[in-house]
Symmetry: D2
Subunit: 303 residues, 4 copies
């Protein structure tokens, strides 16, 4: 494991003040910094400086950041990515607030992804000294941490191959159209032992489907749903269970229309995890296990 995790999501919102209300009061992230038209947010169980960056102007993804273990890992990735044929450039400490030197890559799906080894350390809200299991003063849904993102690509198989060959990701689950002549519709990829850190599904290049926050359990998912109703958050679907990853979920939209998720459950993966395959004739069950019906929004709304 050399890629530690999805470290940050940097996205656009149409109205920064509305967005702050959503991510702070409703989801419960803390505002770490606000400068140059951007707001930097972290969740209570994250120790790095921030996990979400929002900037005003439209909707959708600006870029993703993955934290990598060592500079040697970064150099190795750079070599492999260049060989793969993707565009890459070095980035310097300070180009991103609180983030060190790194590598900026344009994926075959046109998404910008940054890799870095250092981010300013702020510590979690419970600390590292005889800590409580959660902070007494959580806000709103009290999301624990950024969990994963799902992006769209015209050629999901190419993006999957990119992450596998260049970055040692592996697919926990794959969605294919036909068992005999498989066309990859989606791939749920992990870099360590989680069910997924980044997923990709068929769609327009450069687009974002959602990013997800971790909650403790199914009760906290309903509690989040109650708070979403109190705060008039637009719900996509849920609470329900995913077939893929077994996760428990609510999909919803921030005030600008970016889709978020609260997520829990799943399983532990690892290097020898046997990939699970879903076929599109079971796509309803794959995505929303209980009802076995896709809603239209799930496959049509990207930002």
């Amino acid at each position: 494991m050399a890629v530690n995790r999805l470290g940050y999501v940097h996205a656009r919102v149409t109205d920064l003040e509305e967005a702050i209300g959503h991510y702070s009061n409703t989801l419960g992230q803390r505002i770490v910094e606000q400068q140059d038209g951007r707001v930097y947010l972290k969740s209570w169980d994250e120790f790095d400086h921030h996990s979400v960056v929002l900037e005003e102007g439209g909707v959708g993804l600006v870029k993703l950041g993955f934290k990598v273990q060592t500079d040697d890992d970064l150099a190795g990735y750079e070599k492999r990515i260049t060989q793969f044929g993707a565009t890459t450039e070095r980035m310097s400490k300070g180009e991103n607030l609180a983030v060190g030197d790194g590598l900026r890559v344009v994926l075959p799906s046109e998404h910008v992804v940054e890799f870095y080894t250092e981010m300013e350390y702020l510590g979690t809200e419970t600390g590292t000294w005889n800590p409580d299991p959660w902070p007494r003063d959580t806000r709103g849904a009290g999301v624990h941490r950024l969990d994963h993102a799902l992006i769209a690509a015209e050629d999901p198989a190419l993006v999957e191959r990119f992450f596998m060959e260049c970055l040692d990701f592996r697919p926990a689950e794959r969605l294919i159209s036909d068992p005999t002549e498989p066309d990859l519709v989606g791939s749920w990829l992990f870099c360590g032992q989680k069910a997924h850190d980044l997923a990709v599904i068929k769609g327009e290049n450069g687009k974002l489907h959602h990013w997800a926050y971790w909650l403790d359990d199914w009760n906290d998912v309903l509690r989040a749903g109650d708070i979403f109703s109190m705060d008039e958050v637009s719900i996509d679907i849920g609470p329900t269970r995913h077939g893929i990853t077994r996760g428990k979920t609510i999909y919803f939209f921030d005030p600008s229309g970016n889709r978020n998720e609260v997520f829990t459950g799943g399983y532990i993966t690892g290097a020898d995890f046997p990939t699970i395959t879903w076929t599109t004739d079971q796509i309803g069950k794959a995505i929303f296990y209980v009802t076995r019906e896709l809603n239209d929004r799930f496959t049509s709304v990207f930002t």
Copy 2:
């Protein structure tokens, strides 16, 4: 409190064998008796002989049964019901398997409802002697007991008045069209301390919306949903939370198309409970609190 509870639901199903599979393997009720084209089922935490009777031939409700405390109560109800102007007749022990003498009434909404004081006692599956909290060998969703039913009426206010004036029910919650000139759209009525024992909403006379089984908590609701997916049960909506009663729920259909519910949560009522009022401009939130959207089926599918 003189009406103890909704004691049984007697319904029609198109195929008895399919129905047995659903109510027994999937929901986990036990078959107590099968005779004369009818099957009698009980749940593990019910001590009376049965709580559901199914007979082959169509769909929808045959009748409901309410267990009453004493014969004096029955006599008093008979008088009040006659005064109210509803049709009533005495029924004899044996007309219903395992049920004693009683009263048969046709509601103003054309539903047949029976009142009785005695049913053969079979005991719960955990018994009354140093009992375990649940039976080790529960089946399927493991429903605990029948909880309530929701019926349709052209004039919900009339049915509400019937149950209040003749049977001492009280409304826990009411749904009205307009605060200034209220037209009653639905009423959730209790006879003891539960959030509801019988509810009525605007619709075609004689029709059934659903009957509901009790589960322990929100986790068991998801577990039921998982089992419904494994057993290919048709889902109406859920898992989600109701605004009305605060309950946690999945609506689904038996193989014949009768709607069932698994339900938990809510609150304790009682004689001095202050009725809650919902207005139809908030009907989405009232019915499905998280998404705040009614699905079409909820208001259109009755049996």
Copy 3:
């Protein structure tokens, strides 16, 4: 059902300020009124003026209050109680803040219990108009409402008979020493459809074992336990499950040493509920179902 519920617990505490911290910040009750050395508290889901009264000076119970449906019920109870041979006197509106006229009784176990039909109405924190399922700004453990109390008596059978004969309570569960020649050790009595409203166990007359608050589910019980640890509340036992009532529980002590409980689960009773019997050879399982071991405190610490 004519006794609605346990309406209030009036207890003594050694230090009022400490007690306010516990009942308000930790348990989440709201201070309604503070006057004449007494503080009046209510929980968010209670509509009457208060459910707990604390006064400075020692520990233990001053009295319990039960809310009764009508004045006719009160008069009937008065007659029966007098016939039973217990001491009773009329009390007037204003003797207890916000409580109407009523009846004051000294139980055979020397506890003072008041019965009343009216208490000033304040409403719940979610209200009766298109309400949310819970208030967004709950404090601490967020207890919903007073649920029940457990008192000690030298002769539990006498107290049980008092509540059954004078007040129409029924036992949901009974703990006996020996099936052949039963000596009643404890009785869990209900007045409506709950698993219990008042329980009595063998012990010194006039003493209190605990009073209990309702929570939504097992997750909220752990959440309460976490908060008790953060706030350094002294724990008696839990989280665990009771055999008796199937309830899920933590017992703990207020700063003065009065035992409280957070409680959820159980089942619905009613007039025809078949009483469950436990034998003292299974007392460990009866009280703490998982470990099957009584701790010493449970049977020795009363206030």
Copy 4:
């Protein structure tokens, strides 16, 4: 990450038939093979051949097995372990049923630990093709998988250093006696992203404190506790929460006296996880967060 996980626990039991009842009927593991006085068990969510081996004759640990990613990793570990000064020998495919070639090491704490890259693949009970989230026919507590083990050592710091220097483990949490002059009392070590895979506390060399199985959530922990009571399993402590790892837990004993745990919760770690430190003045909170009291058994009973 090159050590994937704790792959198996091989332990002694006094009576194999009793043990099979416990691990199979109560915990829900499946018997994969029984031969030569040994029984091999796996959990429903494990894909390798087995995770627990039991052999008759006494109690306590025979050895632990860790699955490693590649043979190169094995060779590298061998070199580092030899340099560290620990005893190591090569083992061959077939020495352990269904396990490939590997490395056998005697820890500084005298425990035998095996490292291997291959184990016969049997698949999980839900499979890899459009899988359900859990198998419809789980048995007993339905444990998902082996999670971690806790061993005793006279010098925990030496064992911690061994796993850190030779095998790239890192401590998620550490328990020290005094912040100024720290003496390591315990260390909770992870190899991937879990809260811990192996922990070590001060005690007699070669001894086992417990091994743990994963469950889905806090509700499943209580459900397991209920089943333990039904099956008369001896409970050590719980259900409760750990301060260390935030986990939710029950400790209990198999019929031979080996301590097991059911465990859920915790958090995600990784290479940059900031180690949490507990001080022994907070040991009660560290081990049992809610009650903040160690029971005697926890620190005295090892097998």
